[in-house]
Amino acid sequence: MKLLFDKEFDEILSGQVISLIGGLIAGILLAVYTDNLLLIPAMFILIPGFLELRGNISGSLSSRLSSGLFLGVIKPKIKNDHLLNGNVIASFILTILICAILGLLAFLFEYILFGIFYIKIIFIAVFAGFIANAMLIPLSVYFTFYLFRKGHDPNNFMGAILTAFGDVASVVSLIFVVMIL
């Protein structure tokens, strides 16, 4: 029994509880803003990919930075460094491209399968993606460097941190963009 509840168990459980908190906040926001958000055509098609994107892009960014930090080719300080700049710029470009693709797929699915022409979903995806990543990319860089400076392996924590923050940031940015557009 003692072997089953070891350090690995604690680490995985902690990560899952952090994800659970982030997911619950995102779920509650979805429930509260159902009328503004979920009644929009194609929004349900967009949401799974949109939520996944934060982990895929910011998670990969954090993982690449962690590798660079451990290898000593990146210094854990936010400064004008070509590796850091390249990573951040690439993450932003990928966000815009993939959000546009997600928006386009949502638009096409909705039009072809449900007969609803709602092109605004592409703009919602791109603007919301940009806002969410404007919050998450600096956060990923800051926390990765911070954890490394404190002697931790960022890989063990960043997945859970980014999933939790990512879910909340994604839903908040979608609500914000839907309200202003």
């Binding site: 995985i12 994800s19 995102a26 779920g27 979805l30 979920l38 996944e52 080719v73 690439a90 990928l94």
Partner: protein, 230 residues
């Protein structure tokens, strides 16, 4: 030739080519192959952004298409989700947690393969089975906890939380988590072994493939369970 000159030369080598210089620098200067890979992959001022975009784009597009198919299922049955407030609240929670199970299984199984810990049948590995039992216990705990929070909040939003609904919501959350843990565990073994036998690094393929599959099947299983119970 000094080490600096060798590293400068290495930076100019096309990333798709394996250069003998890597082996030479690795042996002579005791610099790890991972460091040299990083130097060759990213250490020119011009190509960091383009390398990352080029290598990530296809996987991300693939993941987007799979997610959109899952989203199509949600859109088709959205009336069910909009009426069932606890399920709506649970959706991002289950999605995140199940995505994390995919990441944990794939990264840990990849490491076990690299370390030579899976020599006979994978199910005979104590470490792997230990990981599976961890996931089952954590899955039961977190799914129950998430359901309770979702029900409490839905109740506060004037959703009629009866004992029957409570039981159904907890059952959906538990069954979804357990089914997905079993599916991801099986897939990480099958795909991990296949990729490893092809002499590729499972780390590079297993995580994006498994997280996309996890997201897609989570939606399918969730829709199936909601239709079954309600």
């Amino acid at each position: 030739m000094s080490l600096k000159h060798k590293l400068m030369r290495l930076r100019k080598v096309r990333k798709s080519k394996y250069h003998p210089l890597i082996k030479h620098v690795h042996k002579k200067h005791n610099i790890s192959k991972r460091t040299l890979f990083y130097v060759k992959e990213y250490c020119t001022h011009t190509n960091v952004t383009s390398v990352i975009i080029r290598e990530s784009l296809i996987v991300l597009i693939f993941a987007s298409i799979i997610s959109s198919f899952g989203g199509f299922g949600l859109e088709k049955w959205k009336d069910h989700f909009l009426v069932l407030l606890p399920i709506l609240i649970l959706f991002p929670v289950l999605n995140s947690m199940i995505g994390n199970y995919g990441i944990i299984f794939s990264s840990k199984y990849s490491t076990m393969l690299h370390e030579g810990k899976i020599e006979t049948h994978p199910l005979k590995s104590k470490e792997l089975m230990g990981l599976f039992y961890h996931m089952i216990i954590i899955g039961v705990f977190t799914a129950t906890l998430a359901s309770i929070f979702a029900l409490v909040f839905a109740g506060l939003r004037e959703f009629n939380v009866t004992p029957d609904v409570t039981l159904k919501i907890i059952s959906i959350s538990l069954l979804d988590s357990l089914l997905m843990i079993a599916l991801l565990f099986s897939l990480s073994i099958l795909l991990g072994n296949y990729i490893y036998k092809k002499k590729e690094d499972p780390n590079n393929f297993l995580i994006p493939i498994l997280t996309s599959i996890a997201d897609f099947f989570n939606i399918i299983v969730l829709i199936g369970l909601v239709l079954l119970f309600f």
